[in-house]
Symmetry: D2
Subunit: 338 residues, 4 copies
């Protein structure tokens, strides 16, 4: 039986565990003033071709998003995101809490924002100032909550639009490794025009490690205060940094993300051959949204397979998520039950 | 050379690391619905003699305090604490952020609150309602920021007063193990009358693990929302819980706290024999506040020993902190330089 | 030329001004402990058949909504309202600011909420706890932002649903006088099942006066703190209360609201006879949403008439608002230009 | 019998009432885009010798302070004020609410800040960054909560210090008229080096009218959003502006403030002749803090005179406040009872 419930039910990659043991070497300065964290910054600078990057390791992805957005906006400003975005639906109001501002949800196919939809929202808000919160940032999820991936063209169009309109660009990269692996691009290409990336580790083999990766140096200023005040500055920061370092070294993150994507494609291919099964969105990363006839779903649940009904996409819709730890045997076993 | 800079420059105890490896065993439900977290709750219930206890593992001590206080007060209410409290001085406004309310700092020797000082503050605030935030909680730090420990009698007096006046009692237990070891009491005795304990692991051998331990069942209600909304709900919670479980099993936490205390006493005894050195407060846990003649301090720094000047306590005041990892050889070496 | 720009461009009714002069009679206790405010509470109790009502005079309608909602929810909870609601669009994030919570916008014809739409949102949110803010209040605008009025049946259905699901009911009554006059009901009938009413005065002849009218005594508790902390407790409260008292005495509020409604109907009747003009929504209160051929609109603007384009309702959509001060001559003059 | 309870128990000055009637002249643009508000800005510019001043009329003094401070700091920053300041004691946490930041109370005689005390606080906070909120603004109350007035020299020293240390200067001028009248200076002299003044009207003959007067043009940017989002933007703003205009025209504000001061001095002179009565602070504005033998106080209360015990200043301490409406007859009558 297989767990396709989420990529955060997966365990920790052995190299991450090993890195924690290696980091556990005597006393070290607290609060990120340690060598492991310094090395992480250098690695991120290399990977993303950004010598001046600032990197703030944090414990949690929702918090990482909240910190980034809190740095971008003032409380009377707003963040534009897709209605399906994690920051709109799955963080219990954390972004409003951390920013004081307003989340403005926008529609679009496949959980993707478009320039047209954003443009209307901005025009209306600015005409109505100061009665409507001023749009100040857009938040893109890459890969998206529906398992799609923004193409390089889509990103270029959105970031150019943002720059023109004085909007910061946040990228929620809880699954950035899956996106980069899917696009087959260099990591720095996917963050072109992005001001802050929430770099995700936990869903991709880390234990609990994310980082705010700040490409825009203006936004690095004062970030240390925001980091601390939200309870996201680890006192023993080396143990968060070490996890991310382990992922970034030798391209492990992309290997793991690519593997999860491959398992998702395998699953998608198998499912498509089954009568009554339909994919709701292109499978471009490690999440699948499918309609399954109810008896099929019930049989799978009865066998102990784990995945979630996804009623927001229809009465017979389900979500399946693969991870770095998903095996071909698990996928085959699952498909064999159909 | 020795690091007495802080107990969070220390490494992770080997048993904690081992527990992480053990917990890394295939897929497990996310968000605290795993077996390790369930077992942790049972262990805490046993240790603190509270069958109905609720336990919320979190990443960070400041955040743990903030969550507890956010559950206790409404934004128009206040929290009474000592002026030296971590929540007043060292969290960059996190408690105000998480609660929306007001921190009211109060004076008292050795960083301890007294009923007399609290009583005056409350009386004035209530007379002046609704122009002054209503006192609703007191926060006690055990052991305190000045290395002292509230006695059982002091705690009994304070918690009785709180109960009479409708105030919740929060205990900041970032160093609770040191306090319990110092008092030589049973763990449940030190939390009698406490509504929520911030149980500290990180300063006592964990990697990054604290827990909100809720003794008052009324306050457990809705805590899951507060936990999530603040970015403190670990998706792979088993790896936070496992750290705390490792500490609590077989009394490891008290053994480690007791060791740190013993090293502090050793240091104190040695320092007292040196001309011009004075202890500013009784050394009851693992922190020492001393005056050192400047040449002595400079010689120690020159040898590479690490500890902080503490100007708030005077121009020649310094703080030294021991930890579970401090060795007798380090203490002896340090004292040998004097 | 006529101003149909908004009901808050109107002046103050002479009886309101006279009441201010009357209230200006020597010293009086501050902060609402005066006789005028006490008398206002009694009047509201009579008008709404609620002997235990609590009344908190405030300066501003957005603030009144924010106070009411802040009393109803905790920061991890949400408020369900129509996407067109003032609290969602026109208050620059004040409700998020005052409550700390999340506004969840919902669709529905004529700016009205329906039980079906609310039900789906609640079900999804509760399934997803604690990752989604918990719905805790619904906010109904009466009359709505599109000039429609909830019928007694619609209100009964919504408030019954709310009661069943443990949701508080807030009514944004910035134009409550128009709604009551339109329905021809007794005032207490329109607030049946409502927990807090934002009673509007400013748009109906007051200078600057609204009141939080609390029917649910549970919500009156601690409201004084919320009132004060948000800067909405008038030190010389008698001068806010006197305005509302003047409106409520002898039914002046309903007379004025009814007059504004009548002027709106007159305008609607006249406009409907013009080729190319269409009403977008039923004209049930004092706001009209119409499509006007662009040349017609331009001619009217050129003559100095004031009203707003309303692009959210279409490229040729406009909003016209009447008030207590609108005269038949103004309406006739306006219609005469068409 | 006389009311010395507070200057906000006083009525409204007849010229203010008359100005409201004059402003009530047909339709006018809402939200401060009216002529009365434009004229007020010009008047303020003249009075304070600041052609580029921005003026935002608001309803309430606490809110005015909160808006000003919210513009000055980010949530991870702090405001330094005297422990006795209204923003620290009398606003139920409004400044923390509006700013998200921390209020740091500081001691000093006569409710006055000194450079020495501020300097220590700043040094400690900056050394401890980012664990302590960064000081970013000082708030001076002029006249102070204890009825004293900062001298021109004291102000020059404080504002120079602030400028050097990158701190904004807020002046809480709820009683600014009393201070200017007391100093006998030109109004622009008292605000030299001040970034935003909370200009008070309500305590000095207005009905409910204050204004954020912004001298530093950087801080005017985006203020409109803060103004709106806090529920302090009056829809019918002309009626707030008209009150302030009435006070500022022909120096009425200084005449009224000067009268209140004169009545306070008269009271002080009379009280000093009574055995057992002592003034606790110099009487420089319109507030007196005195010790009265309990039998004396009781006799006065029994006669119906109104004033408050002030236990924070001692068991026999009382506060008396005069206002524009206090008459010599009232003072003489009161003194005659002693």
């Amino acid at each position: 039986m297989a767990s396709f419930a989420s990529d955060n039910t997966a365990p920790v990659h052995p190299k991450v565990l090993a890195a924690l043991a290696t980091a556990n070497n005597g006393a070290a300065p607290a609060y990120g003033n340690d060598r492991v964290t310094a090395r992480l910054r250098e690695t991120v600078a290399e990977v993303f071709h950004c010598p001046d990057v600032s990197v703030f390791p944090v414990f949690n992805g929702s918090a990482c998003n909240g910190l980034a957005l809190a740095r971008m906006i003032r409380p009377y400003e707003s963040i534009l995101c897709h209605r399906q975005a994690h920051i709109n639906n799955d963080e219990c109001g954390l972004p409003e809490f951390f920013t004081g501002g307003k989340i403005v949800p926008i529609d679009g196919f496949g959980a993707k924002l478009t320039v047209a939809a954003i443009g209307d929202t901005i025009a209306h808000a600015l005409e109505h100032a100061p009665h409507t919160s001023r749009p100040r940032a857009i938040s893109l999820t890459q890969s998206t909550e529906l398992g799609t991936v923004y193409s390089m063209d889509e990103l270029a169009t959105l970031t150019a639009f943002a720059r023109t309109h004085g909007l910061y660009v946040h990228m929620d990269g809880a699954r950035i490794a899956n996106a980069v692996a899917s696009l087959g691009c260099a990591p720095h290409e996917v963050v072109k025009g992005v001001d802050i990336l929430s770099f995700g580790g936990t869903k991709n083999g880390a234990m609990l490690a994310e980082a705010a990766v700040i490409f825009n140096p203006v936004l690095a200023e004062d970030f240390a205060y925001i980091h601390k005040r939200a309870g996201q500055l680890p006192s023993k920061a080396r143990f968060v940094s070490a996890q991310l370092q382990a992922l970034l070294e030798d391209g492990l993150w992309l290997e793991l993300g690519g593997h999860a994507n491959a398992m998702a494609r395998l699953l998608a291919e198998g499912l498509q051959t089954v009568a009554g099964v339909a994919l709701l969105y292109p499978v471009e990363a490690n999440e699948l949204f499918v309609t399954l006839p109810r008896p099929v779903a019930q049989k799978l649940f009865a066998k102990g397979h784990q995945f979630y009904p996804w009623p927001a996409e229809g009465p017979e819709a389900y979500r399946l998520v693969t991870s770095f730890a998903t095996t071909k045997a698990e996928v085959d076993g699952f498909l064999g039950e159909l």
